[in-house]
Symmetry: C2
Subunit: 148 residues, 2 copies
């Protein structure tokens, strides 16, 4: 069955449904994150499913991904056609992996920080004194211990 007229929405509607500014959506189109077709009068018409697509963009952004990374993720979705359930499941799982690894990183950071709260040392400089003969002195004493 062909697309029904209802599946095509103007940019203002997409904006309201996603909470994104119209200018942001146009910018995303420039960056290749969404595609639109044009009416006779040169106005953009988006697929209803682009609401979901832009929702994904927003979530991924909250995770700290740049627009280029997000575009790469979105490449797994069909271009200009409504993605099906399987498409979304695949990409959602990939996002979940991102989230999981971020939680792990934060948890590690928190543990490190906990260890150091006890001695009031953030850079582990002091701790390095206790763990004598460590690699810390050799490598410097930045936050590289706490950070990844």
């Amino acid at each position: 069955m062909a697309l029904s007229r209802n599946d095509l929405i103007p940019i203002g509607v997409l904006s309201r449904r996603t909470g994104l500014a119209v200018s942001a959506i146009r910018y995303y189109e420039d960056r290749g994150l969404v595609t639109s077709i044009r009416t006779g009068g040169n106005q953009r018409r988006f697929l209803r499913s682009d609401i979901r697509r832009l929702s994904f963009v927003q979530i991924a952004q909250k995770l700290g991904l740049g627009l280029a990374d997000i575009a790469r993720e979105l490449a797994a979705l069909p271009q200009g056609r409504t993605p099906n359930v399987m498409d979304w499941q695949r990409i959602s799982r990939s996002l979940r992996k991102e989230i999981d690894s971020r939680i792990q990183l934060l948890t590690r950071t928190r543990n490190k920080l906990d260890e150091c709260i006890g001695c009031g040392c953030l850079s582990l400089e002091r701790c390095a004194l206790y763990n004598k003969d460590d690699r810390a002195a050799a490598g410097g004493t930045g936050p590289r211990y706490v950070l990844d």
Copy 2:
């Protein structure tokens, strides 16, 4: 006891110890994140404890805080004087709260996402159909459910 000469380090040393570029440190000073005193020849001299201070900056940045937020956090530390253990404990705990809340947010996002992977729906549009008569339809269908 007064400061010994050894407690004052030039910017290059601070750079090596923190992994930050010299230019970045100067920029941070402009933004009020660190303070320095000057030699007769107008060169910056930092406290050794500024290594720790800048380590904190880097960790907080990884958490997504902007420099302005970080400056606010750092306001709890004494200006231009070596902070003591208690100072660092207080501020580390505040950072820990940040981390905890970020982990919670991510966990919530993950759970929401899991719920939706099942139906391939990211914006919860489809789920909204199942939960008939919901507030979802009223509020629109952006990712606001998943995002904070």
